[in-house]
Symmetry: C2
Subunit: 352 residues, 2 copies
Amino acid sequence: MEEGPIRKEVAKLAGVSEATVSRVLNGIGPVREETRAKVLEAAKALNYVPNALAQRFARKKSGNIGVIIPFVPKVHLFSAYYFSEILSGIGERAKEAGYDLLLIFLSPYEQRNYTLLFRTQKIDACIMLGTQDTEEERSALRELEREGHPFCLVNQRFEGESYPTVEADHVRGSHAATAHLLDIGCVRIAFLNGPLTYSNSADRYEGYRTALEERGVPLDPSLVFTGNYSRKSGASLAPEIAALIRDGRIDGVYAGNDRMAIGLLQGLRELGIEPGRDVALVGYDDSEGAKFTEPQLSSVSVPFYELGASAVSKVLGVEQKDGNSGDPGEVTGKLPVQLVVRASSLRFKRKE
Amino acid sequence: MEEGPIRKEVAKLAGVSEATVSRVLNGIGPVREETRAKVLEAAKALNYVPNALAQRFARKKSGNIGVIIPFVPKVHLFSAYYFSEILSGIGERAKEAGYDLLLIFLSPYEQRNYTLLFRTQKIDACIMLGTQDTEEERSALRELEREGHPFCLVNQRFEGESYPTVEADHVRGSHAATAHLLDIGCVRIAFLNGPLTYSNSADRYEGYRTALEERGVPLDPSLVFTGNYSRKSGASLAPEIAALIRDGRIDGVYAGNDRMAIGLLQGLRELGIEPGRDVALVGYDDSEGAKFTEPQLSSVSVPFYELGASAVSKVLGVEQKDGNSGDPGEVTGKLPVQLVVRASSLRFKRKE
DNA sequence: TGCGAAAATGTACGCGTGTACATTACTTGG
DNA sequence: CCAAGTAATGTACACGCGTACATTTTCGCA
């Protein structure tokens, strides 16, 4: 609890002024080598470390990057895997850049007020995870943009706006998943999508649509289902989808994430339908759980870690440019995703 | 980017001194109701928010709780589920207490220096996740304790020390898992434990041991295996354990966490052994993945969220007491765990 | 009405750092 | 050897808030 030494004491011991100590420690301005050595020696002798609170106050920079964690009812986190990976990526890159990470959990009752975080100087930049396209969110983001605060969305776009965003190429991933099902011989493919408040979902639909279109397969709207990305929502559709399979109306299912796919997979098996044999199934995210199921789940691997890291780069880059307004929607390209084929979509292998 | 109004401006508008503004906003000291109203009105009119950086500097409190995230090679996080749940609990409780969360990722190369975080005033308290009992860790913690900084370990004890810790009752959980296997008719139970650098592992061994002892079942050391809590380490033991099963030398397996259990479950199935029928299997943690497997995995549910929340309470409680030395090893009791029986350990159901 | 105590408010300064500006020491070229 | 220019260092203050202490106001009661 005892306070450590302060700059003044270092200055006294080194026989220089406080300003010189500051210059040495911050590597600013011309300093004679001899002086520098004296100061460093004194600092070391006293075991001096600058007070971050005072530094931040004087610099008017918190040195923090805020990470906004969405609130999801009933669940503590929307997806542990997704979340953990992204967060790790953010943490790694932030650390490299000398920033600390401030975690901000949204609450259901209190309204979003991101600008407050900036105005109180708690954060210098922020990264939003798992946002959804709602009016409240849009207005909160608009305010952020208007006040010129650096922020970055992860895996979410707002149509009509050009907020800084890092994304993976879900259109392509979705296309790959669907094309894969077609490749192995599926003819009629159901699609279990997530809520359209996520731009991800729209992207997935787009990939699904174009893949079918390219092969001349008509898109049957009655084969497109909507869940909420939970395992339960996948499981609850099992009876309906099982019926379609039994009627020969579908032979493949592509689900927008692994959890729904897993729920569906389990539901189907309970109903006597064996994914991988009776129907081909592909999920999305390539989460840890995809390897837990029987059969293991084909999925699309998303570089969540890299998404997090890129978000930091982006948000800090934007910050450096400061008050510029250049090319906000800069298309640095979406990160590539990778289809991973496993047993849940092997059986239909087309005779080649 | 533009700076907001400061206290001085509020004071001027309200026609009072800055000190009065401060008192009103902090609810300190006697203030006439009329004055309070004037100040609040002025603050609202100017849309004033106090600068957190300045507040923290003046108060000499960062208002942050540090959360130490261990470094695990190859994996970005040791266990997404475990981690996410605990973190949510920490976040929730910290928010209630008016603290922010500072995430601190440990690096492999740089040595642990927790005290630095306190000395630079970046955090007021800290919570350690996933620590292991190593000499480096011990010495880092000793230093923290010596300097009197408030900290709390989650799910890890250091034998011989009495650091503040929140734990779940893994001895009992492990006992329950083992007893359950005995209850359903298993006679010889293998135990797949994790590394003993985690006190968790020792606890689990203890529960396993006592459960056997109580039933008069001799503990066969050759049936105790050690993995590293990864799925792979479970899977790689499958051949050996499969042989034991085939030889009738074991009829039940209790694994120290779900991931190992799942790896083992999958490995056994590949070898033609059906958990739940040919052998009873129980995991630990009751992670999301326990419901993904076929058969679903019996497991022991741990209140990770509550562990996180308790850690915050504890660490802030300790902080309030400040320089006291009272009862550091206070036994507030370990949080209860709950056996969840699923298909992987049903078949042996004892005739009752 | 006056007086003491309590309530209410104001004054003044510290917190530890960054940094603009002033000052001093040194270098270099004539 | 001196002047000018640059390198090196020192001085002084701001940053926005909390708060000890001083001061003024209010109130109760004699």
